[in-house]
Amino acid sequence: MPDWRTLWMLAAVFGPLSLFSIGGGASLLAEIEHQSVAVHHWTTHRDFADLFALSRAAPGPGTMLSTLIGWRVAGWTGALVATIALYLPSSLLIFAVSRLWRRWRGSRWHSAIEDGLAPIAAGLMLAGGLAVLQAAGGAAVWLAAAAATAILLRWRQLNPLILFGAFGALFGLAAAF
């Protein structure tokens, strides 16, 4: 018997966020961390950091993080509810807007919305990085890996996955010996 209250809470948290993810899922990171750890106590800081890493190691578009939090809280049903809650509202919106859009193309508003939201998206992305670092307790090793990756990516067009693998292996080896 599924726990309806928990499922409802998952939908109530991720549903509205769906319509506020500006410039992609990374903009939601800080809010998802806040809701899962501080507000609803769905995960501990440590748990959240693990789920974040797993969601980034898996294929797929953007955030499967909500899926994992749903799964942690309420199993497969929770995973399904959280995933649908995060993707359905935004999908319905774009479905509805797409026809209107073609009439609107090239208008001043169109570019202004794009330009106006861009700095907020950048800010949310940076805030998300900070939030996950805080979840990790600001561990120095994380900071080092994050800084090294950020610098490497700005310097070279590398496939981020290679860096994920490299740092995962590096940290794993360091812990093993």
Binding site: G23, S91, A112, A121, A122
Partner: protein
Amino acid sequence: MADSAGPPTAKARISLAALFAAFFRLGLTSFGGGTAAWLYRAVVQRRGWLDNGTYLAAAGLSRLLPGSSGVNLTVLTGQRLRGGRGAIVAVVGLLSGPFVVVVGLAAGFARIAGSAVAHAVLDGIAGAAIGLTLATGLALVPRGRTQIPPLLVTITTVVAVGVLRWPMLPVVLVLAPISIGWALGQRPQRGS
């Protein structure tokens, strides 16, 4: 919702099964959020289901509206090719593979969660993933003398959401109209 304004790219009607298969594969092969680029290869270059112009217009809209741009673009592509049912089939195809993989990974990890090495590997991945997020965010930070107001918007967002940990929704609801209003003022009447 078939659209008569769309170019007749589809020589034959694309079956829902083919649509599902294409997006299922896309979901499992696109890593690191680069879905839009993979979708271009799969749908425009390889299969010729959409032409360049249609793709670009859809890609612009999918970035502008809230939500994962990859999922948004998938909705638009499915809608273009087979209407409402096409949109549903394409999105379910895109997400079902990653859904099973990511939960499978987490379930597998839960079994070895006591292991210090497993945690360390995840720490390495998480650290690098944060680096990627920060690098992307930094690349998007407004620059230049004319960009001081947008830069202030970015800094306000970082401080409010990332440092003070205020809830994101009200912060965005306050900042978005200000920022869009400023951008609108920057554009001449007969814009771009």
